[in-house]
Symmetry: C2
Subunit: 450 residues, 2 copies
């Protein structure tokens, strides 16, 4: 059922644009969803997508603007006058409009706001611009249905019809007092099944989940997920109802959070996409590579310190990439599981129990690997048993230490309120490389004596 863009469609659109066949284009795009049109515009040249944007009517273009890839949106916004942008924003909900304004350069922001036609809408948008984008205030919208606890259900229904005109989706009906302080809620189901003669203060549910304007968005996401909420009201410092957050905004927060952790584990420190500029990508990637390089310097020095082993046991140096790789892989596995457990709040039990478990797990895994290694180094690589034994004993030790580092570094960071995801990826592989090689050569020195 999902729409798929074909090369043929793109080619046809390009042809229509070239031949200036406005009517045919309109016809072609008429029944398409705005998200699909946004996807098409992402595939087109800048000039073509700007052309398409101009021939569509503003009800559709406003939604398209919202769905567009950031890069395309920036280009299109540059082409539009403040008045034209304001016309688009008049069609959007307050939170979406505020998000788009926030992307504009500051001097343009004011110009656009002064061109907004609907004064109430403009006031709401300006209000939303005050909040940090990573907080409940930055996520919330102003569109909601609220009723006064002192109203009768009849007044309430009348008022709601008016309010509902401005609200795309009615999630909950919030109940406030005369000071606009959040008191509770009326469910939609109640609305459908309750007699119209009742009074609000007698039927509303006084228990209502809410968040404050300055609650962090990841925290809002966790609350809404945990309690299975589709919308949550937002109150200010005085408990006054100032907005609501819906689950679709939270879906984006959850996705961004997961992507950030994923990128962090891969050694990418900023939120980037494959299609970002080379400069942005370098900024996100280079710092971790420099870290790995400096870690590499340490390992060079370390191997240099053991260089007299080369006289009698040069094979030891053939195993260094193997030891480093195993230490790195084990470390990443352990840390990833812990980072996820911390993110989901699903770690239970004592540190001691975790230590015992991690050591048992590594002992089991590393023993199996050591057996493969002894057999392999003898039969496949043709090395002596003394080397095989040395490398195997080292491997077991390295794996245990690497898994302990992978497990406890994220837990420690989390204790000190540092993002544990920092401890995955290049950080853990680099430090485990160093520890791994140090352990390996130290053990080799003891067993082989050099």
């Amino acid at each position: 059922m999902e729409f798929k863009i074909s090369r043929e469609l793109i080619a046809q659109i390009e042809q229509y644009v070239e031949e200036n066949r406005e009517q045919d284009l309109k016809e072609l795009l008429r029944d398409m969803h705005y998200a699909d049109i946004a996807e098409i515009m992402w595939e087109l040249d800048d000039a073509d997508s700007i052309y398409i944007f101009h021939i569509l009517d503003s009800e559709k273009t406003a939604e398209i603007l919202l769905e567009l890839h950031e890069e395309v949106r920036e280009k299109i916004l540059k082409e539009l006058s403040p008045k034209e942008i304001a016309e688009e924003l008049d069609e959007l909900s307050t939170d979406d409009a505020a998000d788009i304004i926030a992307e504009l350069p500051e001097e343009r922001q004011e110009e656009v706001i002064s061109e907004l036609l609907d004064v109430e809408h403009a006031k709401d948008i300006v209000d939303l611009l005050r909040y940090d984008e990573d907080t409940a205030g930055g996520l919330m919208g102003k569109e909601l249905v609220k009723v006064n606890e002192n109203w009768s259900v009849l007044t309430c229904v009348k008022e709601m019809r008016v309010q509902a005109e401005n609200v795309q989706r009615v999630h909950s009906i919030y109940v406030v007092d005369d000071e606009n302080r959040l008191k509770g809620r009326l469910s939609l189901k109640d609305l459908l099944t309750t007699s119209t003669k009742t009074h609000i203060r007698d039927v509303y549910i006084p228990k209502v989940d809410f968040v404050r304007v300055n609650t962090q968005s990841v925290e809002v996401a966790r609350i809404m997920q945990k309690y299975d909420l589709e919308a949550i009201p937002v109150v200010d410092e005085l408990g006054r109802l100032v907005g609501r957050i819906t689950i679709d905004d939270i879906v984006d927060v959850i996705k961004e959070e997961a992507e950030r952790d994923y990128q962090m584990a891969a050694g990418i420190s900023q939120d980037v996409e494959a299609d970002d500029s080379i400069l942005n990508l370098t900024r996100a990637r280079l710092p971790w590579l420099v870290l790995a390089l400096l870690g590499g310097f340490v390992s060079v020095r370390l191997l240099n310190g053991f260089s007299n082993a080369m006289n009698d046991h040069k094979e030891l140096f053939f195993f260094t990439p193997l030891i480093a790789a195993m230490a790195g892989n084990v470390g990443v596995q352990s840390s990833a599981i812990i980072v996820q457990g911390l993110a989901n709040n699903s770690l239970s039990g004592s540190l001691w129990a975790r230590l015992v478990k991690e050591v048992s797990l590594s002992l089991l895994n590393s023993s199996i690997l050591a057996l493969i290694l002894i057999a392999g180094s003898h039969f496949i690589l043709g090395m002596g048993y003394d080397v095989g034994l040395t490398v195997s004993v080292s491997l077991i030790t390295v794996i245990i230490i690497a898994s302990l580092i992978g497990t406890f570094v994220p837990i420690l960071l989390n204790r000190f309120k540092i993002d544990p995801a920092l401890a995955t990826g290049p950080f853990i592989t680099t430090s485990n490389d160093i520890f791994g090689l140090l352990i390996y050569f130290s053990i080799a020195k003891v067993i082989l004596g050099f």
Copy 2:
């Protein structure tokens, strides 16, 4: 606003349980959300959490059962008779009830189903059990509000009041024909703002997004996200309306998908948690470690092949972990960005453009790193410029090749319909280790001649 479990609370509950103070416990837990109680039970001993489960009433326990950690749920279900389980399920929505039944051993499933009181509910649950859990059928619930296109709005409102009794949240009102085939929808807003005298067939919106029972759940998630849907109807092969999927179920799909990709990138091949058994964790982690070990064997042989370089240029061997680490890190960075781009459907442009971009990016990054390396190897490590130069030239080449492997292997896998996430983590680091070392020593041989 979020509930936090304190050690004191857990201690208090444990004490109450020990002293058998049922009333105090009930009092303490009365106003708590079921998700919070589930969290508490996860922290308690098995016996204690079973005790708590038994003293609460079934309206609450049913929801708790749903929120419990899988391990605790399994233990509690074992303690309950089929009749008791059926009582819990009678309180739940069809999709949640079906999910819990699916977790039971097969012989118990039938026993439980036969004990369900509400025959309609039981029929719906049995129907849902037919579907694969990774499809729309496996996600959907039976609770929905639907009206016949031939009804008047008046009949419709009456019927809806009855239907809404069984539906926790009314998302959309679906319109069907006499054969139960999905025709369109009525929005809740329409319901609030339309006069009751109209006929359904004259007011419904014939355009409605839907998925089929066998649509994959990740696909459903993508559609609902892309089109900003809070619920989507599900139709069978004949276009008949059989269920609906709500956004809260999709939130779980999105989270699981992100976690799976994350784990894959970390070399964990099954969905595991930190608190899973050692055997499960080994099964998820060991295969990747064996792969890395076998890759290590290849690198041992490779270095062995270049062992005559040890006579005059033993420093070369000190750099092997550094080269392997850089190749691995660059590969993981490139592949992670591509895998994410593929998952989000956000890659645009030709393969050729991507190739040019990736090479430019690597050239920029690796040149900066090479400068640091030349300086570092001379001033910090005290090596000759010939070694520094050799390693630097190798580093630049290795980084370019590693980034190309990281970029194009996932794209290739995706073309052949293989999950590109497989190409991140240990797979890419292991293959890049090998290629990296091969390139390094080949270049060294050319420059230094050995």
